[in-house]
Each structure stands twice: as C-alpha cells, then as structure tokens.
Amino acid sequence: MLRAASVSFAYGSHRVLDEVDVAIAPGALVGILGPNGSGKTTLITVLGGIARPARGEVTLDGTTLSRLSRVEIARRMAIVPQDTHLTFDYSVLEVALMGRYPHLSSFELEGPRDIEIARHALAATGTSDLEQRSFLSLSGGERQRVVIASALAQLADAEVLTPPPDGRGPSRVLLLDEPTASLDPAYQLEVADILRELSTRGHLTIAVCTHDLNFAAGLCRELVMLRDGRVIAAGPTDEVLTPETIRRLYGIDADVQRLAATGRLSVVPLRRVSAGPGA
Amino acid sequence: MTAHIRTVLAALAIGLCPVHPGLAQPPARIVSLVPAVTEMLFGIGAGELVVGVSSFDRHPPEVGALPRVGGLLDPDVERVMSLRPELVVVYATQQELRGQLTRAGIETFPYRHGSGLAAIAGTIRTLGALADRRDGAEALASRIEQRLAAVGARVGGRPRPRTLLVFDRQPSSLRGIYASGGVGFLHDMLETAGGLNVFADVDRESVQLNLETLISRAPDVIVELQITGDVGPEATSREAAAWSQLPTIPAVRDGRVYLLGGDAFVVPGPRIAEATERLARALHPEAFDDEP
C-alpha cells in the first residue's frame, strides 16, 4: 500500500500540493487526473520518494519513506518520467541495465542475472530486438518503452518477473508521469496494453498521471482527480468519471458514454464553461 | 627596474632609420618618450630643452622633476601637447601618435633601434645636429666609441668564454628563461665584451630555453641581467641557488654565474659603454686587474 497522508509541497511561496491524501492499494491501477499545473508531476515525485513533502508523510507498506534509504525505496518504486533526455550515446540494453543500480554495490559490475533481468524487461515491453541499438536513435514511443523496461528491471527481484502467486510480499510500484503525452495513438495503445499486462500478470502497483481523460478511462480502474494541488474526487473510475467531476476538474462540459466496443467509459469534450480555477 | 627590460624587448624589435625631420630651426622644447634618447639629450648638453619624459625614464636624476607623458603602449597625447613641444621623440612604431602630432603641427623624431652598438653613436650625432649641440654630441659619441674600443682592446686576444646572456626568468626558479639570440643589441654587447654567445647560431633576438637546451649548450659563463632588480647578496645567492639544479653546466660548476643589475644594460643610450665594460669585467676579470 502506498499512501500519502496530508501531503503538502511548495516551490517557494507557491503551494503545489495542499493536504493531499492518496491511498494506492497493492495491485491497483490508478489514474491521477488533472489539468496542467494541478501538481500531478509533483505528486508523483513525492509518492516516489525523490521529493520530500513540506508537511505530511508518504508511507510504503506502513513505513515512512523518510525512514527508508534511497536504495531501499528504489528497489520497490520506480518513476517513469514524461521524457528522457539521454546525454550520451548508451545502448538500449545499457539503459535497461541502469535500472539495476539499486541492486548492486558501489563497485559491483552487472552480472549475468542482471542482464537476464534486463532482457526479460525489454521483452515485456516488446523492445527485445532493439537491444543493441543506440537509445538516441529510437523513436519517442520506442524510447518510452525502453525506459519502462528500465523501470521494470529496477523493480525486479532475484526471481525475475515471476511474482509470488498470491500477490503478497512488498509492494512494487510503478509511477508514470504522462507516459503518452508525446506519443501517437498507436504507441498510446501499446503503452496502455503493456501497463494493463503488468498490472494483471506482473502484479505491479501502477499509478499513471495524465491529463488525457480517455487514456485514463480506458486503462485505469481507479481515478484520483487533482486540481490546484487538492484532491477533488477519488474512487473507482465508473463512479468518479462523471460530467460533474469533469466540469469541476477542467471547466468543460463533456459527454461520458460507455463504449460498446471496449466496455469502458469514453469522454467527449463539448465546450468550455468556466474561465479558470475556483469553480 | 624590470620596466627597462621592456625597453630592451621593444628596442630589439625595431630597426634603424636616422630620419632628419624638417625643422626650420633647432627646437626649444623637446618631449621624449624614449628613455635612451632622453639620456642622450642630456648627455649632449640639450637637457635644458627637455620639458617632458616617459613614465619609464630614470636617468639622469634631473628627469625626476619633469612631467610624465606615458610610454610605448600608453602615450598621453593630451599631456604631450599641453607641454607645447616643438619636437617629440617617439618610437617608430607609434604611428598613430605620430599622425596625431603631425596633424597638430608638431615635429616628431621616430626612434628605431639599430641592430648594433654603432647605431647608438649614430643616433647621438643625429640628435646633435637636430638640437644644435653638435659639439656635445660629437664628444659624447666619441667617448662612447673610444670606451667600447678600449674594452675590445682589453679583452682582445683572450679566449672567449661560451656565454649565456639571460635577460628574463621567473624568480627563484628556472622557468621561463629568455636569453639573447645571435641577433641584436645584447648579442653585440656580449661579443664586444669578449664573450661568445652560446646561441650565436640562432637567428633571433631572443630564445626561450628549456632545460635540455641549457644542459646541452653547457655555457662556461652565465650572465643574468636584472632579475628582480635587487642584486644584493641575499638575492644573488638565492638566484644562484636556482641554477644549482643543473650542476653539469660549467658555469654553475665553476661558480661563474653573475648577476648584473642596473638598467644601463637595457637602455641603449650613453651608459652602454659603461655597461659593456661591466659585462667584460665579469667575463674577463683578469683583463682589468690593473684597474680598480
């Protein structure tokens, strides 16, 4: 269970997160929805333990993150950022292997087991045949999948990606920040498929932040709606995703329908209603 | 004192050209930016005509009271003109300054350093003609020529030690050593004083040395000019100690490393004969036994 309790975060005097409570159960697939500037990215970094909240605390399986070392957190939580700008020309396999950092000591080199884990991770994201390619030569969608593979390698224990059958054991959390923002529809569907697969078969706990209503509706079983650093709604997608909440979140009128083809909700924005925040 | 090494280096870059400016009558007010020429003017009896000197002038003592107008790199045109000169002695390379003065109707005497000691006497005579001090100039020039000849006579016939003439180096270490090459003013002094320049084969005025070259050239005598300006016993022993890094050099081994101070060595003016004589005394002390 990954829980944020009354978390507040500020950049200087600007309050980005204000008394945010979020609970992500093991095995959940949660979407964090909100307009730009709502604090979604900050929430991800705070939940993921790379930013410390000014007030409140984040706990993972009952332990406060501040009591865990960086490496301990890294073994159980991985953040996939929106874009990855790689300064030097590493290969795809090298990037995947970077996820093994928290599992190795300072001067230890990656061993055959680490390489096997990285390869499994690449296979899980459909990027095995890119293994020897230069990361910088990949397309946006390919890069995103490789970075996800790197995160999977990071979360893998010695048993590789075969999880304990009952899903118990320490939570392994994958946090993604706008994973499809710069991708075309084909890649969007691919990433959604991978995440769905990882949630059901890989037994990962996944939280995705996005401003894309349909992506969230199609993928996530639960939603957290964030606006101006506050949670305005949270719960199962079918209950939370309504025209009223959408109006409060984005200031738009939208039509919410269940699509026969997918069995999922689909959102069509219609028109703007309010000029700005505070609705 | 090291300011005068600047003059040497500047002078070494300039050639000779005795130009006779078109003055209708001898100038009554002279400004000189060239310390060597200032000394010459005083030496020929034209000192009373000098109304302004460069920032680097030190000799003769009378210049202490005179206004300063800058130097090679930073001449103060306004200051020069405020002294209402009729003749201004400038470096030949100060073309912009010359242009400004000419446009203001002021005559200039461009000073170029000759590639020999003979040029000094020549310049003195030229100045004598210019300033109407022909007798004084002739006397000064002759004195210099005679003294140089006398030095040459004393050391003539004696075996000439292979000499390294160093004019700059970083204090207390053997880095950044500059020595006289086979061309120029310092080289001429060295040869007149009875020395054999170890770099006579180098067709340049200055040579920057590395240690390997020093060791392999193995000079018998090392003469250093004005390193820190201080040539007292403490400075001498400290600087000599720097050379002890290279004990195979004959000059170091035999203790023939001499520090010669005083700007007479680097101002190619009236005191040059005296400087050459001092150099000769260092190289051939026994030739001067009969003189204190």
Partner: protein, 335 residues
C-alpha cells in the same frame, strides 16, 4: 561492444595502459640532444657530472611525468564535467577554474608574491590559490538560493566568472610592463618544463585525491546521463554525486593548471575520442580517457620540445593545432 563488462573493463585498462607505458618509456629517450642511454645509468660517474643522466633525469623525465599527470587529470576532469553538466561540449575550463588559476598566475608574474615557496615557482602556487578561489565562488553562487545544486546555475556562474576573470586578466596585463606581459602570455600557452620533481610532488596529493573520488563516480555518472530525477528514482544520491563530481574535477583541473598552465583541448578531445572507441559507459570512458590523455600529452610535449629545437614551442600550441581540426571534424560529423 559485446562481451561481458568485466572483460571490457580489463581490456580497456590493459590496452590504454600499454599505450601509456609505451609512450612514457619512449619519451625520455627522444629529445633535441643525442644522449647515450648506457651513460645515463652508469653508476661510476657521479650524477652531478653526468651530462647524459642530467638530461634524462632533470630535463626530460620530469616533463614526461608532469605531462602524464596533467594530461590524465585534464582528460578525466573533462569527462566528469561533461557528465556533471550533461553537456558534451563542456571542458575542464568551462566553470572558471582555469580563469581563476590564470588570474592568480598573472598577479604573481606581474606583482610578485608575498610568500616564496622554495622549489615552486610563484606562478604555480598563486595559480592553485586562484583556482581554489574560483571554485569557491562558483560553488557558492550555484548553491546560494536553493536547496541542492542546480547545474544550470552552476554553468551560468562558471561562464560569468570566466568572463569576469578574463576581464581582470586583461586589466592586469594592461598594468604590467612589457616583459611581465610577455611572461604572462607565455604562461597562458602552457609549459611542462618543470625542471625537477618538487612541483610534481606538490601537485600529486591533490591529483591523487581527485582520482580517489573519480574511482567512485562512473556508475552514478552513467545514471546522471538520464537526468537528475531519473537518476534519483533509481537510487542515486544525486546531490552527493554532483558535489563530488564538481569538487574532484575542479581539484584535478586546478592542480593540472598550476603544474603546466592552462593547456587546452586535452579536456575535450580525449573524452570524445575515447567515447568513439569504447562507448558511453563511464566505467570504461574514465580510465581510458585518463590513460589516453596522459599518453597524448606526453606525445604533444615531445613535439613541443623537439620540433623547433633549440626553440621551445608552447605545448598548448601543439594541442591546439592537433585539437582544433579534430574538434571541427567532430562537430561536422554530428548528425
């Protein structure tokens, strides 16, 4: 490159190490003067009278050792700064360390120093002090108004300091007389003719200290290439890595510049060249760059002291002549 990482690391150390040994062993044998190698090692002739030994041990060998240290330090510092600033165009001189060192040397050569350290030239001591001063100012600026460390602010502070110190250097040159200016300009071109082991031994503790930290940096630097947040989420202590990278690389640069002057191009050509050969993994790049940088500068110094003998060509000119065109070629081939 395929093959296990462990094997590749070993191959890198062995090949580049062999290159350095080869060049380092040959360099003292080459020079403007012919020497008899047998005479160099003859024990019966006292050292103070053995010209061949003097040339070998006093004139040439210290230069070779100094070149190795300076070349290795600058190349390694280049690698680390490029990783820290996440910019392949960064050099050891980008952040103003060299400008501080140059200002220190300039002041010493123009105005002298109040304290004279025996065996070390004025410029060596003053330039090291100047380097440390620049590092302190840049670090202070980079950490002044935020928690942690902004590499953007670091870069801006460094570039600003470079400009400011360069202006001060010009001012000092203006105040200096002709010969002082001559000396300072010459210092700026680099000079490895250290003439003894004292300057080397003085620089060594700082260089070794820097390299002790360099030994730890490669893995975190690899991850830093993903970006600070991506590195952090994988468990890297980003702040500590950045601080250690900054201080160790600055220390290595300061020691190198005080020993041989601000020799350019080594800190940028070598990292790029090495990456073309061994790839991007810093566990390969850092040792390869160090060894190759050392070998490269030894070779450049041999050229500097023999090409125009008896005249000495400044070694910074040699590295520039070799480095400039190479750098242009690098830029052109970038897709």
């Amino acid at each position: 490159m395929t093959g296990s990482l462990g094997r590749r690391v070993a191959v890198v150390w062995l090949t580049f190490g062999a290159l350095l040994l080869l060049i380092g062993a040959a360099a003292p044998l080459i020079g403007s003067t012919a020497i008899d190698l047998r005479r160099v090692f003859v024990a019966t002739v006292p050292f103070d009278e053995n010209v061949d030994a003097q040339i070998f041990f006093v004139a040439r060998l210290p230069r070779v050792v100094a070149a190795a240290i300076v070349g290795g330090a600058l190349a390694a510092a280049g690698v680390v700064f490029q990783a820290l600033l996440r910019n392949p165009l960064a050099t050891p001189f980008t952040l103003g360390v060299s400008a501080g060192a140059s200002l220190g040397a300039m002041l010493a050569l123009t105005f002298g120093t109040p304290v004279v350290v025996p065996g070390l030239s004025d410029s060596a001591v003053a330039s090291f002090v100047g380097a440390l001063g620049a590092v302190a100012i840049v670090y202070g600026l980079a950490t002044a108004r935020q928690r942690g460390f902004s590499t953007t602010v670091l870069l801006l502070a460094g570039v600003t300091l470079n400009s400011f110190f360069s202006a001060l250097i010009l001012f000092v040159q203006y105040l200096a007389d002709f010969s002082q200016t001559f000396r300072t300009v010459r210092w700026l071109m680099g000079d490895l003719d250290v003439g003894g082991y004292r300057p080397i031994l003085s620089a060594l503790p700082f260089t070794l200290g820097a390299f002790a930290i360099f030994a730890w940096l490669p893995r975190p630097l690899n991850l830093l290439a993903l970006g600070p947040d991506s590195a952090a989420t994988r468990g890297v202590d980003v702040l500590r890595t950045q601080r250690l990278a900054f201080f160790s690389a600055s220390l290595a640069t300061g020691a190198a510049v005080s020993l041989g002057g601000p020799i350019g191009f080594v800190g940028i050509i070598i990292p790029h060249l090495v990456r073309l050969i061994v790839g991007a993994d810093h566990r390969l790049v850092l040792p390869a760059a160090t060894l190759f940088g050392a070998a490269f500068l030894i070779a450049c110094d041999v050229v500097a002291r023999t090409l125009l003998a008896p005249l000495e060509l400044p070694v910074g000119v040699v590295t520039a002549v070799l480095g400039g065109p190479f750098f242009l070629w690098l830029l052109i081939r970038q897709r």
